[in-house]
């Protein structure tokens, strides 16, 4: 076709503001796509990592019409090797896209190399590795959420020292729990709140109640009045408080697990910092779908809001609604 005819037509297309009918387009094209997810395995049906899966499934159900399918994989939160094994399974599947949590920095980096070799696009969820060639990241800015936690604990704690608890093991510098801790400490440092002394403790294993001893000892010997738990496992501290009848403590943790909500309502936990994990799962699938199937450009980083949840507003965060 002659160039000027072409441009004339495009001109008219523009004038009439023609918008292709996306329904007809996807119906006719019969494209399909296979995705894989690789998330930590929740230790119980109440665990945090069940929540992103809810959002994933919701979006997948909607996208089934578009011929989209997903195969879920998971790995142990205490076993870097299980990440490697399941990452391998993902690669064998040869999916059109992957959504995963780069939980272990080293192992995740290797996996990323393999994905790139096979030209499989990927989206990070929950925590991120910068500039790793990802389509995008869905999750919180962990450092900033630590700052918020610091501010809030500072606000409600007139005196006494503070204990930061990581219920986790194998943490490296990239880990978002470490980033939260860093933000938290920085609140106290940047605002010269040195009337409070800060301590950190790492609890790798909460089977049984043996883990309680060092925490209890720290609380008693170090005049701890405030506690910050860097992940969703703040319910452990709630149990400790009830078992030993501790009172006067101010406690901040993360995420709306049922047991955490119970402790929030009992006023044992004062604030939960939340991040809408179902929405993250939903949005992560949506992002890889838009990239792979619809070839749309999406944002590199979609930071989730840092929700401050108390007894009084918790009821309006519990539901996940994408269906209004």
């Amino acid at each position: 076709m002659a160039e000027d005819t072409k441009s004339k037509i495009l001109q008219i297309v523009k004038e009439m503001d023609y918008q292709p009918n996306i329904l007809a387009s996807t119906l006719a094209s019969k494209k399909s796509a296979l995705f894989a997810t690789l998330f930590p395995e929740p230790p119980s049906p109440e665990g945090y990592w069940n929540k992103p899966v809810v959002g994933v499934n919701k979006r997948i159900a909607e996208l089934r019409q578009y011929g989209v399918q997903v195969v879920p994989f998971s790995f142990s939160q205490n076993e870097p090797k299980s990440f490697v094994i399941n990452a391998l399974k993902v690669l064998e599947l040869k999916p059109d896209g992957v959504v995963f949590a780069p939980f272990y920095k080293k192992e995740a980096t290797e996996f990323i190399g393999q994905l790139k070799e096979l030209s499989i696009p990927f989206v990070f969820i929950d925590s991120e590795i910068k500039e790793a060639g990802q389509v995008g990241y869905i999750g919180q800015n962990s450092y900033q959420s630590g700052l918020v936690s610091g501010k809030l604990l500072d606000l409600i704690l007139p005196e006494g020292n503070v204990l930061v608890i990581h219920f986790a093991k194998e943490m490296d510098n990239q880990n978002h729990l470490v980033q939260r801790e860093k933000g938290f400490y920085d609140w106290y440092n940047n605002n010269n709140r040195d009337i409070h002394q800060l301590y950190t403790i790492e609890i790798p294993d909460t089977n049984g109640e043996k883990w309680m001893e060092p925490v209890l000892e720290a609380i008693r010997k170090k005049n701890i009045k405030g506690l910050f738990v860097t992940n969703s496992k703040v319910f452990n501290v709630g149990r400790l408080v009830e078992k030993y009848n501790l009172n006067g403590l101010k406690i901040i943790g993360h995420d709306l697990l049922n047991e955490n909500i119970t402790f929030l309502k009992k006023d044992i936990v004062q604030f939960l910092i939340c991040q809408r994990p179902e929405e993250q799962g939903y949005n992560a699938i949506n992002k890889i779908f838009r990239h792979v199937v619809q070839k749309r450009v999406t944002a590199r980083e979609n930071y989730t809001s840092i929700d401050i949840v108390t007894k009084e507003n918790v009821d309006y965060y519990k539901e996940f609604k994408k269906d209004i």
Copy 2:
């Protein structure tokens, strides 16, 4: 067809888990729908009521494929008559559904009667009238959000009295500003916080700076140390604070207007209670669409979260993202 043949077929349909292709369905059916919105007119391009409109337009753009159109109407925030006039225009249009803010109780009730007579379904946004025959409500639980404001101001205010400011006029009992005030007072009453005395003032008009006088007088004569503004117009108080160089005041208001964010970042305002107005507009259109076009059943009440926003987390609330 014989009954048993029918049931046999339905049996197979069930076994195969047949799901109709919604793309093909809407493409073939060529249904279309005309909706109307009736919102308060924002006093400036920065005003709160521009935000729900953003969400409305976003959803409408997506639904254009489905043959959905919307005609927007608005009314003055100071003129109940303008509500009546524009409600009448809505009725003349004979839309298939209406989304509106029942801003003036009496006038809204009359409008509702007329909508029902014409069998036009409607969705409330921002504030609600209970049991009025609405398809649903999208917005905050205002009373509860008042409680949250009370708690937060209480938390940051060691001593002194509190002034509640309504920048509004013609408020009746149903008004959600009154509900917010009620929740706020109840926080102080229920927790026996009578070391603080509470006062309320109504400012109907903020043209010029004459309105500042009574507020300033109250602050000075009544030992006011904390202020709670029941709507998005807390920036007025910010201006007052800067003009008269007041300091040591603790201020809580509503909504992420740019000027409010500025005062938040300057630490003149300590907390903003927010409600994702763009999402509300988006969801309200979605709700009327699902009801009218898709004949789906939706929830009667979709309470928006009561977001607690500070200097530290505000950056993660500013964007409206339905496009990830």
